[in-house]
Structures are given as structure tokens and as C-alpha cells.
């Protein structure tokens, strides 16, 4: 955390709406609510899923290569560009200008994109080919047919 007085570190502002609990909005003549002193916010999915609002983007997964990691065709991905990608993260990456979602593998200084489905090969950069991580997938949202 940024302590007060540490001016050399820029502080990111939160763009998420700041909700304040309404503590006893008005005075009642009858019984005061016994819950009055326990006022809190209802759980908010945005706050649970999104740590950095400015760096978070939604993506759509298309295909079945990540099935064993729980990402199915059509899932909505929450992607955070503020997270530093490391070995084992699920990432959105560009290969030759195309976007793909895969597991990042960085072993012995070599970068690979691993599929989570045995029928799909891993992506190993060829000579002169670059893989760039666009952002780290922090959740996958699945909607069921109702």
C-alpha cells in the first residue's frame, strides 16, 4: 500500500463508483432498526472480479482449446493488463497479429503458449515470430442456457 508521505510513488485512482453505506437516513419515532449499526454494502460482482478498473477489459473466448482450464466456447473473459504475466497464468496473447487465449509457459527462458486440451498443439514461437502477452485472464464468466 502507499503510505501517506511517500510522494515518489504515483497513486492510481479508482474509477469504480464509491458507494457509501447510508447510516440511519432519518430519525424514526418508533423502534429504531436493530440493523442500523450493522449497515454494510451488498456484495458487488464488479468489485469481486475487477481489481483495476482502468486496466480491465472484457474478451470473448472462441474455441475449445482451453476446455480443461474451464474456458468454454463463448465464455466472457475478464482480462487485466495491470497484472504482470508469469509462468502458469492464463493470458490473451498476440501471435502474428492474431489474438489467442492460452496458458503462458516460461521455462528455461523460453516462452510457449500451452493449450488446455490434448488435441491442440502448444504454440512455440518460430524463428522471427514474436508472441506478445496482451493481458492476463483473471476470470472466465460462463452463462448457462435458461
Amino acid at each position: 500500500m502507499n503510505s501517506i508521505g511517500n510522494f515518489s510513488e504515483p497513486v492510481p485512482l479508482s474509477a469504480a463508483s464509491l458507494m457509501l453505506p447510508i447510516a440511519a437516513g432519518y430519525i424514526r419515532a418508533g423502534f429504531p432498526s436493530p440493523a442500523e449499526d450493522f449497515e454494510v454494502n451488498r456484495l458487488d460482482l464488479t468489485q469481486i472480479l475487477i481489481q483495476h478498473p482502468q486496466s480491465t477489459y472484457f474478451w470473448r473466448a472462441r474455441g475449445i482449446s482451453m476446455r480443461e482450464k474451464g474456458i468454454d466456447d463463448g465464455d466472457l473473459l475478464v482480462v487485466d493488463r495491470a497484472v504482470r504475466p508469469v509462468h502458469g497464468h492464463i493470458v490473451v496473447a498476440t501471435v502474428d497479429g492474431e489474438f489467442t487465449v492460452k496458458e503462458l509457459s516460461q521455462r528455461l527462458g523460453r516462452m510457449r503458449l500451452k493449450a488446455a486440451n490434448p488435441t491442440f498443439p502448444d504454440i512455440v514461437p518460430k524463428e522471427g515470430q514474436t508472441i506478445e502477452v496482451w493481458g492476463v485472464v483473471t476470470s472466465s464468466i460462463k452463462r448457462f442456457v435458461l
Partner: protein, 436 residues
């Protein structure tokens, strides 16, 4: 101290975040109706494409130089701007958002190495949003803008200035002699607020570089030109004259104008168009809690097309200061009917609300209207609020006045945006796709 944080080729940079295949290629973003280039990648600048170059004049570069042209996607740029601005605000305690891609940051009370801090913020904006920026710092806004220009030029044209000035440049950290060298190497026309006309006059008077202008006597600037140029000279000398405007006041006039996708010659679609512009302007008016007393309605033909030319405008006085969509669309309709001439191919029309006043102030008046004529004077504030809430919640134009016509299919006058990319960050149906 002030900093100016500015996105490099901002619209193009926004597009490249979601289409990395555009990296390294010449790219331009076209204005509404795909008219002319309003943003250019460095590669496009190197092809000699000038700002505001008409699309039909540079179109051949698509074939010959691999130029990519995109229609402006302001929904995307607005969201990316919001992300960038929020992160830029981390640089100091106050912020003035100057345009969609520039903001001034007040650095008062910020201790430590400003350039190091600037580099951290720049790095964060780049990592979190994908937008490259340049940051200029100086004791006044005019100098901060100049420092930003130098930071940008150094990055784009290596050799123009010492290379450590690139990306983040603090003009105040420069020793006096080096500062003079930099000002000497920069043309007077690059100064904020010195337009082409004034810079030509200055050059005629022997003032060619920023250093020359800095050494001008402020009184001479005032006598020879204007108080604005005097302020510019003082700001260049390090004396702050332009404050940070971190809470801009309400606008003095509100305009909604648009070029049509193709020329329009009939009255009905012109009425439809200005009614819609009036409705948009009314929304903006209510948002800033103002009332309009007059409306200017105008239209003109295209000077670039063959055929008879016509440019008309009319000022419609409003019976009372109002923010009522129905009253304003009626005024626009009346104005259009009054000035319409058959036989011309109109390419642009618009409404401008002028002489705005606060909605909190009401002029009392004698009851001169016929009391039986109630609908005309009925207070429709609640109706207008309801309209705004519905349109915010369910999308623009969900409910609108009859005069604006049916949305979609039969509209002859809507914008041409043939090359627009999706609203990647603001519309669920448009989110980018990653192959799994």
C-alpha cells in the same frame, strides 16, 4: 509546476490496442462521414499525409503504400481517454482535462524527481491501456505544452533535440544555457496559442524562434498584438498567467452540427436532421442546467462539389428561455422551414444554442398568454427528466419527438462510417474475440 500528459496519435493508438496488426503500418482515422484525416500514425505522417488531408486526395495510398483508413470510433476513444485520464491524474494533486487526449496536471507540492515520477506514470498508462504518451513539465502551462511538444518531436524525429528529452521532459530541470539552446531550436509557431497568422507576423518582425519571443517585452506584445500574446510571452518567461481549470464552468453555447452521409435537397429530411440536432443539444443543455434564449439554425452546400452553392442561417428567438426538447425541436423546424430553398444539394446542417443562462434564474413576467392556451406554457420539466433517464438507461433515441422521424432505415442523412471498428470496450456484443 505543471505537466501536460498527451496521448501520441491518440485515435490511431486506440485502434492499435485492439488491432495489433496495424502496428508499423501507415494508419489514418477519418472524420465524420469519412471526410478527412483527423489522426495519423507516424508512418502515415512519413508518407507526407497532412492533418485534415481530404480522404479522396490520399485514397490512392491505400493501393500504393498500404495505407489503412478507419472511420472515427468516438465511443472507443472516449472510453480509452477516460482510462488514460484517470491514470494521468496520479501524477499530481490537480488535473484539468483539456481535450480528449491531453490533460494538464498541477504538480504543486509534489516532491522528488519529477521526471522519474513522470516515467512511472507514462509506463503505467502504456501498460494498463496500451496508449503511448508524452509528458512535458514546466513552471507554466504554455511552457509545459512546449516541453510536451519537444518530448514528442525528440521521440519521433531522432536528432532534433538531445535524446534524453524524449517521452518525458522537464524544461525546468534544464540549465539556463541549455534552455536557451532548446528555445532557439524551436520555431515560434510551435508555441501554444500562436496561430499561423500571428507567427507569420512575428517572423516578419524578425521573431523566428521561441527564444526570440521569450525575449520580447510583454508590453510590446500587448501593443503590437493582443493581451493574449502578452500572456503567452509572460508564460514563456516563466510567469504563470493561465490557471489550471480543474472545474470548468458551464458552456456559453452548445452546438450540434453534422455533415450528411450524402447530399440532401428535400425539406422533410432536413427538418428531421435539425430536429434531432436540437434534441441532442437540449439534452446537453439540461445536463449543464442551462436555458437557451436563442437558436441559430444553419445549412450549406459543399464547396467541393459541383452545382449551385447556397449557405443559409437564421436566428430563432425563443419565447422564453428554455431547455424543453419539444420547444427546441419546434424552433429548429420553424427555422428550417423559414430558410429552406429548393434546388440545392445540402451537405451540412446544424443548430447552435446561444445566449445561455442558468436554469436557476427565472425572469418573472406578466400573464399575457391566453390562460386557455395551456399546453404551450405547461411545465414539462418532469417529462424532460423522464426522457433523459429513459434514453440514458435504454440507449440514445429510445424515445424522441416525432419530428426526428423514424430511426434507421429511411434516413438519407445519417453519417457515413464505412470503416468503423467495433465498440470493443463499451458494448457486450462488440468485445474482442480471442481464439481458444
Amino acid at each position: 509546476m505543471y505537466a501536460l500528459v498527451d496521448g501520441n496519435n491518440f485515435y490511431v493508438s486506440c485502434e492499435r490496442v485492439f488491432r495489433p496488426s496495424l502496428n508499423g503500418r501507415p494508419v489514418v482515422v477519418l472524420s465524420n462521414n469519412d471526410g478527412c484525416a483527423i489522426a495519423r500514425s507516424n508512418e502515415a505522417k512519413d508518407l507526407g499525409i497532412k492533418m485534415a488531408a481530404p480522404w479522396f486526395k490520399i485514397r490512392h495510398l491505400e493501393e500504393s503504400a498500404g495505407l489503412v483508413a478507419l472511420s472515427a470510433n468516438f465511443v472507443l476513444y472516449g472510453d480509452m481517454s477516460d482510462r488514460m485520464m484517470t491514470l494521468a491524474a496520479g501524477l499530481g494533486p490537480t488535473q484539468e482535462i483539456y481535450s480528449i487526449d491531453e490533460s494538464f496536471i498541477g504538480l504543486h507540492g509534489v516532491r522528488g524527481d519529477l521526471v522519474a515520477r513522470g516515467r512511472k506514470v507514462r509506463e503505467r498508462i502504456l501498460q494498463w491501456t496500451g496508449i503511448p504518451t508524452c509528458i512535458g513539465m514546466a513552471p507554466t502551462k504554455t511552457l509545459a505544452k512546449l516541453a510536451n511538444h519537444i518530448a514528442k518531436t525528440t521521440e519521433r524525429k531522432p536528432g532534433s533535440y538531445p535524446k534524453e528529452f524524449a517521452q518525458v521532459f522537464n524544461l525546468a530541470a534544464l540549465p539556463a544555457q541549455d534552455l536557451d539552446d532548446v528555445l532557439q531550436a524551436t520555431e515560434v509557431g510551435d508555441v501554444w496559442g500562436v496561430g499561423p497568422r500571428i507567427s507569420a507576423q512575428l517572423r516578419d518582425g524578425g521573431i523566428r524562434t521561441v527564444l526570440d519571443l521569450t525575449r520580447m517585452d510583454p508590453a510590446t506584445a500587448r501593443r503590437g498584438w493582443s493581451v493574449t500574446l502578452e500572456k503567452t510571452v509572460r508564460e514563456l518567461q516563466g510567469q504563470p498567467c493561465v490557471d489550471l481549470d480543474d472545474a470548468p464552468g458551464p458552456k456559453q453555447q452548445i452546438a450540434c452540427t453534422r455533415s450528411f452521409g450524402k447530399p440532401v435537397h428535400q425539406l422533410a429530411p432536413l427538418i428531421e436532421a435539425v430536429s434531432e440536432f436540437a434534441a441532442r443539444a437540449a439534452e446537453k443543455l439540461r445536463k449543464q442546467k442551462s436555458l437557451a434564449t436563442e437558436m441559430l439554425v444553419f445549412m450549406h452546400t459543399s464547396p467541393y462539389r459541383p452545382g449551385p452553392q447556397c449557405s443559409r442561417s437564421v436566428v430563432v428567438p425563443l419565447r422564453r428561455p428554455t431547455d424543453d426538447t419539444l420547444a427546441l425541436t419546434k424552433a429548429a423546424t420553424d427555422g428550417m422551414r423559414f430558410m429552406y430553398l429548393a434546388g440545392y444539394q445540402f451537405i451540412k446542417a446544424g443548430v447552435i444554442l446561444v445566449d445561455l443562462q442558468s436554469a436557476n434564474v427565472h425572469q418573472r413576467e406578466l400573464e399575457l398568454d391566453d390562460p386557455n392556451d395551456a399546453p404551450a406554457t405547461r411545465d414539462r420539466t418532469r417529462l424532460m427528466t423522464a426522457m433523459d433517464v429513459i434514453n440514458t438507461r435504454f440507449g440514445k433515441g429510445t424515445i424522441h419527438s416525432g419530428g426526428t422521424g423514424k430511426l434507421g432505415v429511411n434516413r438519407v442523412w445519417t453519417m457515413k462510417q464505412e470503416r468503423r471498428t467495433p465498440a470493443y470496450t463499451t458494448c457486450l456484443a462488440d468485445v474482442p474475440v480471442a481464439r481458444a
